[in-house]
Subunit: 451 residues, 2 copies
């Protein structure tokens, strides 16, 4: 299926208007985020999807036929037939740490091309970055305990594959999502549901049936009727496994006071010599609840997290935007910005770069500059990934992206990872950018408002 | 691509355990919702996806190969090769109104089959129902004004198609999502972005270029620099269109105080004789904000709603669940339920039906009963859609589903549609169901907890 129509209608109407008015200057757009819904930082993800899209972007015959039924101009539809993306793209690699207002992706192309790609780019970058960031928070809360993602049943429909990929980049250890396991090579994990237990005459029958089927990887769900009684039955089955030379891997709690129950269950297991059996806990967990459980000394080895991880709840959307910052007319750069009633919705003009100052392995400060500026002792964060429509960057594996993300997260000082009231990371504008911004605001006020 | 692996790993491990222990009784599962995140009712959707899935469910060679790498038993993998769904499904048709605890779908099949389909069914039903319900609330808030959905850029990745379909069933009038328009035949709408305006030397140049490209469907975005000044320029272009025998369709506001600005812009348009031009408003709208705008007398004809509609924000997931309620052993029905620490997480035992009492076209009360009970003057809500693995129901068009949803929503009294503190709609259990539930709870307490 062609991805060309995975866009907003207004991209196509604008394209026709650009085409018809022969207004097709080289334009630069920035993808950035104004406000982070939870916390102070983002872990970027989604670029792989954008590059695949850019590389394959074309309108198929049936796309063009559909647009014909929507009243588009015949000449414009002919133009779409040979449409290709021919521009340049700079981007932060996947797994980077980004902050508000920093260009994460910078697209430079004839405006008719740069305009079209907006919607797909936003759709992918917003969601993958949202979920990767969320996962990094949940992983941070668990202080080294593993996070198993099992959100498929509550994921937003087909979003589940991209969501699972993002949770893995953000540091989760495994997924319940078999298709994601197959497609991305992510480790899969899973045990049993309450229905398995209740389908048997007695709970212990279900435990024995499962242990017989999976003697080497047996986790038992013990809260179907009563977690403490369930733990005692798990001990019986664990002892039976020992007699066969096997070991019960663990038990899972899915309801009740997880802190208190985990301690009691730990005592029951240890008391019976099953100190090797792990405790998995699940049930609407998130970074705040895991943090609380850890602070209470819960005896939990693995956290299963579903809904919150894959939907980003309570903030299911990242408001990343794609804004025009520069147009070239008659060989001259004309910096552009949106002003609007709400100052907070204004944008930064001109082609820009982002720089990061790192000291002793810690991220200290970022600078947003104009394109032509350079800063010594600062690392440029935008890398060229597409040149004249061709992808020129390497395509790292998912594990490479995940490792980069984990490395970057470890360089961000802990204070920025607090779940409440994290301070803002310092992002400065270069003085030349600040000057340009003031000049453009004054120009707009004069020409468009007071004029 | 095969859909068989779009499931949680534990469905497959449980299946292997059922298979290995030769424990494969006929089982009945209910899909239902315990708690509705916003409001008192649900508008069901997603059944079309479930039926397509059931009809095509099989494991392809590469699925089986992947499972082999995950350590599944060779005999079990052979069994999967011929796997088909052979059971019965009863369901509320798409576009029905449902309430907490009511079975929306009831699956009866050998447990090894009924277990597998859980994850896909939950994934689709939870998301489509969530978004259709959300859309019905946004549409209700607008009191007859049209809702244009444009959430693609903030949708959760690939969820956007299902989301747009759901918003249309829930009553939205159009979408910006071109692919959804092509795939589902949903009307598409869209105009221009701020980048279109800023890409020209002056705002009015951009308006003129757009009017030249789309003289018959010209909406102008007027808030790029200043909404009032933008409205005055829109009037100039509207007058120019009049001279060509055309009419400006309208203007769009995307920031600022939408109530106040819409009134001022309405006066500017009317004062210039452009009383026919409509005002579209957008900018992080939802049912509460639209309700407030309507109460303030905002002069808005069309609301554009994006993020909140397609993600369900602030509640991005519906906690619909799929629970075992009955198992047949040696020809005898054994009602099943989960008890657990938290009473609220207990389930209803036995094969069940749902009935609705309607008076003068208004929904009055629902009854959940056992399978064999009937109620005079009550409408049965569950219809058989699959028999022995074959789909036996009609497959209504999207517009038919939408019309049914709108009809059903209109039968729900207004008090249940309030955005805050809506009362609970009365859902009663039949006395036989109540008796059965008490009996099973006592049995579990005796055999699994005190035992």
């Amino acid at each position: 299926m062609s991805e060309a129509l995975r866009t907003d209608l207004y991209q196509l109407t604008m394209m026709q208007a650009y085409w018809k008015s022969r207004h097709n200057p080289e334009a630069t757009f920035d993808y950035f985020v104004r406000k982070i819904p939870s916390g102070s930082y983002l872990v970027t993800a989604g670029l792989s999807y954008v590059l695949d899209y850019i590389g394959n972007l074309r309108f198929e015959e049936d796309d063009i036929e559909y647009l014909r039924t929507q009243g588009f101009d015949a000449g414009f539809l002919e133009f779409l037939r040979d449409f290709r993306f021919t521009g340049d793209i700079l981007a932060m690699p996947e797994g980077n740490i980004a902050f508000p207002l920093e260009p994460i992706i910078r697209v430079t192309a004839p405006i008719i091309e740069a305009q079209l790609v907006e919607t797909f780019l936003l759709n992918r970058m917003n969601f993958s970055t949202l979920i990767t960031t969320k996962a990094s928070r949940v992983v941070y809360a668990a202080k080294g305990r593993a996070i198993a993602e099992f959100g498929l049943r509550r994921a937003q429909g087909d979003a589940h594959l991209e969501a699972t990929r993002a949770t893995y980049i953000g540091g989760c250890s495994s997924t319940s999502n078999v298709l994601a396991g197959k497609k991305f090579g992510i480790p899969v994990s899973g045990t049993m549901a309450h229905s398995f237990v209740t389908s048997f005459d007695h709970e212990i029958d279900s435990f024995r049936a499962y242990a017989a089927a999976f003697p080497k990887r047996c986790f038992l769900l013990i809260d179907t009727y009563n977690s403490i009684e369930g733990a005692k039955k798990a001990v019986i089955v664990g002892k039976e496994l020992e007699k066969k030379g096997e070991k019960l891997l663990g038990v899972r709690l899915d309801s009740g006071d997880l802190s208190e129950l985990s301690k009691q269950v730990r005592m029951i297991l240890d008391g019976a010599g099953l100190d090797y059996a792990k405790i998995v806990a699940s049930g609407d967990l998130n970074e705040w609840k895991i943090d609380e459980l850890m602070n209470k000394g819960a005896m939990i080895d693995i956290f299963g997290v579903g809904t919150e991880l894959v939907t980003g709840r309570p903030a299911p959307a990242l408001d990343g935007i794609y804004k025009l910052s520069d147009v070239v007319e008659h060989g001259r750069h004309i910096p552009k910005m949106k002003l609007s009633e709400e100052t907070v919705k204004a944008t930064l003009p001109g082609k820009k770069r982002v720089w990061r100052i790192v000291e002793n392995g810690n991220f200290v400060k970022d600078i947003i500059s104009l394109d032509e500026e350079t800063f010594e002792n600062a690392k440029p964060l935008l890398e060229q990934v597409v040149k004249n429509g061709k992808i020129i960057c390497g395509r790292p594996s998912l594990d490479e992206i995940r490792n980069r993300a984990l490395k970057n997260i470890s360089c961000l000082p802990d204070k920025y990872k607090k779940f409440e009231d994290a301070p803002s990371y310092p992002v400065e504008f270069s003085s030349r950018l600040t000057d340009l911004r003031e000049r453009i605001i004054e120009k707009i006020r004069k020409e468009e408002i007071r004029g």
